[in-house]
Symmetry: C2
Subunit: 192 residues, 2 copies
DNA sequence: CCCACATGAGACATCTTTGTCTCACCATGG
DNA sequence: CCATGGTGAGACAAAGATGTCTCATGTGGG
């Protein structure tokens, strides 16, 4: 053990391992602990020294996803300016985490048990509040509920992350694709 | 074995088992063969008499999904009338299969191996062709590629199916939510 | 130089799932 | 009544993943 107070390499490695695992599990959600370890460039033994087990790893991934979402929410300053601009900022800020979100989104195991992690509901609420603000200000239509718009945003983020990783769409279009579809839709807009 | 020419109950049961499995796996994609059997109201032994193994079951599910998609494509008459109306018909027709599609969409195992089932690419092409038709006719904007619109449609179908099964949105709004968001977007539209 | 410590490699038991098998049961038709 | 065949229950081994352990190695600091 390193002496308390001295920087421990494990703390630095842990983040690297977590991100490798996120990248791998995004592509192959059934990857084994051995594959996760290989992907991170460490042995299975060391992986177990970082995370007690697969559950702990997924929980840590979930915590990372929540943290990144909250960081994106904060950076996007959802309360400032037009709601449409805030959505744009949000998608731009959340883009780096989209792959991880896509994995967590499909890992219904997390929600299977009892109550889903409270962190997600708080995030959902803040995103839904943004859409509600846009509706109240008259920017957004009111026949699509904030809950659905929130859900749709997640779905589009996951779809886009997946489509990019498969090479079906260009990474640079990520934010534009999502924002334009979510806000503007596919129908050609008459000049306002 | 039943004599050839006489109706065999297994043929009828098979479809029921397949649909039960689809419903269960949509909610819990890691369900065991035992759980699948229980959900269908049969024993694991009988389940194995229908499908050689888990792989065969998933393959059968994939084939069912492809068949339902193609049936929906045919019923929606994508080539007739305005493209927007065709999209609406397509979503309406595909709604019953949305849960199954959502499961298959996340089962990246299917695409992991070599080349994804040819059936999917044919479906993708037909959907993308619909969006391309809308773009050429001037109905749809051209800065969102048909490939992305197709991907987004799948993502929204999956999100909506998931949101409905979680009770976050009303089932009766399914088609409206998807079509209006996909075509019109969240932004309030000026009167054209 | 020597020691502490993190690591990698691998052995090992355990658990879960799977696939196969057998056998008793029961319904249906002859 | 009896025979056929589908079914459920359960036993069983095989395979895969997991969690834990030990030991050798190498590196870095004292």
């Amino acid at each position: 053990m390193s002496h308390v107070g001295y920087p421990c390499l494990m703390a630095l490695d842990r983040d690297h391992v977590l991100r490798s695992a996120a990248a791998l599990l995004t592509r192959k959600s059934t990857a084994t602990m051995d594959e996760v370890a290989k992907a991170a460039g460490i042995s299975r033994a060391t992986l177990h020294r970082h995370f007690a087990g697969r559950d702990a790893l997924v929980r840590a991934l979930e915590a990372l996803g929540i943290a990144e979402c909250e960081a994106a929410l904060a950076a996007a300053r959802l309360d400032e300016g037009p709601a449409a601009d805030a959505v744009h900022r949000l998608v731009r800020e959340i883009e780096p985490a989209a792959g991880l979100l896509a994995f967590l989104y499909t890992e219904n195991q997390l929600f299977e048990g009892e109550g889903q992690n409270q962190g997600w509901t708080r995030i959902d609420d803040r995103v839904a509040a943004l859409f509600r603000r846009g509706q109240r200000s008259g920017e957004f239509r009111i026949d699509l509920t904030p809950a659905w718009l929130t859900e749709a945003l997640y779905g589009l983020l996951a779809s886009a992350a997946w489509a990019v990783s498969e090479g079906r769409v260009a990474p640079k279009d990520f934010t534009h694709m999502i924002v334009e579809l979510l806000l503007g839709g596919a129908r050609r807009r008459e000049e306002s």
